[in-house]
């Protein structure tokens, strides 16, 4: 399942609910998942908020393509990808990628693959609001580029 959401989400509740509803108990022996969370500091500056823009249509299509590629490469039973858009506050979860499989190698590698492809190619853009509080500065900046993850 792929979800783009403008609302704050609780990764652990999403995982619990999805795993229950996917109804594959006994089949999966492994779940590897990753949660990316907004920090309150970036490149040495305090960050008090963030705006996450995306390309409606292309973002969903691209995420579906990443997941299909992962399923072609590894023995994957189920995947869950959630990405936040819109206005975020520090500590908010930004992204969740989870993969269920029979054995751990597939879950580990597929989850990391999806996450790295998402970071390097899925059309999302972050604009940070700099300063310890929103009132203090009002300065914003687009994040220039994601760092590599391998």
């Amino acid at each position: 399942m792929i979800k783009i959401t403008g609302n704050a989400f609780d990764p652990w509740k999403e995982l619990a609910t999805f795993q229950c509803e996917m109804n594959r108990d006994g089949e999966f022996g492994a779940c590897a998942n990753f949660i990316g969370t907004m920090r309150d500091i970036n490149e040495g500056d305090s960050v008090n908020g963030m705006f996450l823009e995306h390309y409606p249509g292309m973002t969903e299509k691209h995420l579906a393509k990443i997941v299909d590629e992962a399923k072609a490469k590894w023995d994957v039973l189920e995947t869950l990808v959630i990405h936040r858009v819109g206005k975020l506050l520090p500590h908010d979860p930004i992204v969740l990628v989870a993969v269920w499989s029979a054995h751990r190698k597939d879950a580990f590698e597929a989850s990391r693959f999806i996450m790295e492809d998402l970071k390097s190619k899925a059309p999302f853009w972050k604009k940070e609001s700099i300063g310890a509080t929103e009132k203090q500065a009002g300065k914003t900046r687009w994040v220039a580029k994601n760092t590599g993850g391998y």
Binding site: Y55, L118, A122, P123, F124, W125, V143, K145, N146
Partner: protein, 77 residues
């Protein structure tokens, strides 16, 4: 012929709008469309292209009704 052109993130701010329709007579590649729209704008950063919501190259062909988008390197996740 005419195409839909989209700009995202910092490029949307540079252009002052996120979407426009463009007459594309003679503009049969993404690279030519980009040279046309970017004329007079000071764009120092790397720009990525897509046609109909898939990544494209400067040499990718553009046809009537296509959706072409320009955006900076992605920073999601």
């Amino acid at each position: 012929m005419s195409i839909k052109v989209l700009y995202f993130a910092s490029l949307k701010e540079v252009f002052g709008h996120g979407e426009e329709r463009l007459k594309t007579d003679g503009l049969n590649t993404v690279g030519k469309v980009w040279r046309q729209v970017s004329k007079g704008h000071d764009i120092s950063q790397q720009v990525l292209f897509s046609v109909n919501q898939e990544y494209a190259e400067a040499s990718s062909l553009v046809k009537d009704g296509d959706e072409v988008a320009f955006f900076p390197p992605v920073t999601g996740g």
